[in-house]
């Protein structure tokens, strides 16, 4: 029970931000200026001030979170984290394959993966495939023909 109280997202997120702020502050301390005169504020002053204010605000957030206990934000609408995680995996794969496979192939696969995550037309394979191709083709037309953008081609083909 006590472990859950401290490991929920409302507490974890500010803790992660404290670590990020510490890295930021460390980097700020390493900023050296050879140009500024003594009466000028150095380029590291504002980042350092920002970091200290961030610590202060995060401590207030942590205090408020500990006082309030687990709230609605930790159980958002009863939704599952699996779907967003799958969307992220599909997106990461899309970015990795975007150039090697080219726009058309990687986008059809990406759209297909998202259709599965969102449960769209999964029981009708023909429609599923046609919609995936249609989305890919529509945005190819928009970017390549309307806005004249050069998108990566399938290896061996000219875009």
């Amino acid at each position: 029970m006590t472990v859950n109280r401290f490991l929920r997202a409302g507490i974890l997120f500010p803790l992660v931000l404290i670590i990020v702020t510490t890295i930021y502050l460390g980097a700020a301390l390493g900023i050296e200026s050879q140009f500024s005169s003594p009466e000028e504020i150095s380029p590291r002053a504002i980042p350092m001030l920002t970091a200290w204010l961030m610590y202060l605000a995060l401590l207030v957030v942590l205090f408020q979170e500990l006082r309030s206990g687990p709230g609605d934000a930790d159980q958002p609408d009863g939704g599952s984290f699996l779907r967003p995680a799958l969307v992220l995996v599909a997106t990461a794969a899309y970015i990795l394959l975007f150039r090697p496979l080219g726009y058309s192939l990687s986008t059809v696969l990406f759209v297909g993966a998202l259709f599965i995550v969102f449960g769209f037309e999964t029981h009708r394979p023909l429609r599923f495939a046609l919609y995936a191709i249609a989305v890919t083709a529509t945005f190819y037309g928009l970017f390549a023909f309307v806005f004249g953008v050069r998108l990566p081609a399938i290896p061996g083909f000219v875009s």
């Binding site: 997202a9 409302g10 997120f13 500010p14 931000l17 702020t21 930021y24 980097a27 700020a28 140009f35 500024s36 000028e40 504020i41 380029p43 590291r44 002053a45 504002i46 920002t50 970091a51 204010l53 961030m54 605000a57 995060l58 207030v60 957030v61 934000a73 958002p76 609408d77 939704g79 599952s80 984290f81 779907r83 967003p84 799958l86 969307v87 992220l88 997106t91 990461a92 899309y94 970015i95 975007f98 150039r99 726009y103 986008t107 990406f110 759209v111 998202l114 259709f115 969102f118 449960g119 769209f120 919609y131 989305v135 890919t136 529509t138 945005f139 806005f147 004249g148 953008v149 998108l151």
Partner: protein
Amino acid sequence: MDTFFILLGGFGALADWTVLGFMVGGFLIGTFFGAMPGLTSVLAIALLLPITYTIDVVPALVMCASIFMAGMYSGSITATTINIPGAPSSVMTAIEGHQLMKKGSGANALGHAALASMIGGSIGAVLLMAFMPIAAQISLLIRTPGKFSLVLFALVVIIIVDRGAIAKGVVATLLGVMFATVGIDVLLPIPRFNFGTETLVQGIDIMPIVIGAFAISEVLIQAQNWRASSGVVDAETKDMKIRRRDFIPPLSEIRRIGFVTYVKSAFIGYGIGILPGAGGSMAAFVSYATARGASRYPEEYGNGSREGIAAAESANNSMCGGAFVPMLMFGIPGDPTTAIVLGVLVINGLQPGPRLLENQADLIAPMFASLFLSALVLIPLTLFLFGPYFVRIVSIPKGLLYSAIAVVALVGSYVATYSVFQMSLAVGFGLLAYVMRRQNYSTVSMLLGFILGPDLEQYLRRSLSLSDGNPMVFLTNLDSLFFLTLTALFVYMILFRTRKKPIVP
């Protein structure tokens, strides 16, 4: 006066078929995104931001203005038909509009919403064109310490107005400021926070932050909240027959609402639009509450008041004009949409400020004209042409919609700079924004912190440098003192007065 006539000349630019096409296209996109629950005009502009790299600045700005106006109006469509506001600014319209819908007067409610949006939006655009030259003159009087205090005022207002979670608002804003410090220092040629990489020396571009915060995070949120039944309209609503002539509000009802209500609400909306961070929701609420207080028929409120719809819709559309004033004159966006429009200006090498109006009025004047024509012509025209089909917008399968949004967001991030790194950055910011939204941290505050952070730092360092490091310069300088007093007053009004009497709907 000359500048006012130059601004009027912006209408001439809309005679170009390409520019006109972008205005109408933008309006239709804005209407679709505004009408679809869960999607907003901010998302529409965010998705189109990368495209602005490839088109001229005039059509880009014209399109942004028409999306802004359309999104503000079209939120009333689903608010009325299915009681789900398409945009947060349409909550008050949902209260009254859906009551009328249940009484069989849905088309009439949509007609009143469109009429008020048309009047409010047009007045807001005219006020924008009329007062921009005056605002430019005023902005010339503000010196560096005053500019620092003004930016500080904007940040404080953004934090305290947004959601009421002050500490989280501060965290989100400071996070934006931290991202903004990555890259070359604002005054000296010194790289900061590049962690030994060359890529980060150039700093973080606004585009991946906007795409991540508004598009990727939305897809992740929808993935989490996805239900097989979401977006299904009940059969009765779906089969409802709406005739086009039902959209035209009878003159007797317009007289009953009164010309004063429309105009007063438009002025309230415009005034609230000028305040940083306030936005359409606050404009609609304050105007609705004011109209209710002064109404001859207060008993109708909550039971389908046409006056309530008129007050809310006139104000939130007029807000569009007001929100452009601080953005164009001081680089301080009034809301997330104008923050992205500021990004479009910067991408195209335009710097906000009085010089923008002096030297490049021909570039921004078509945007004002687009705002005006979108309100005056496109709102009633769209309702008349597409009104009977509006209710079916929500029937579009969410799986298809969000998959398409994900593709536009990611490919858009790529095409802006032809960089896979930008795509990865957008996804990174998307994940961060997703966690922030789930934990009630405002992503809008993060974006505005990112935009205003460099200005705050620059003005602070310049002011102190000019006064030999004496911080009293902020109190001895009259314009600075004015904004600091205004900040203190605002904090008192919002934090202490509203604790006694809540004003948030």
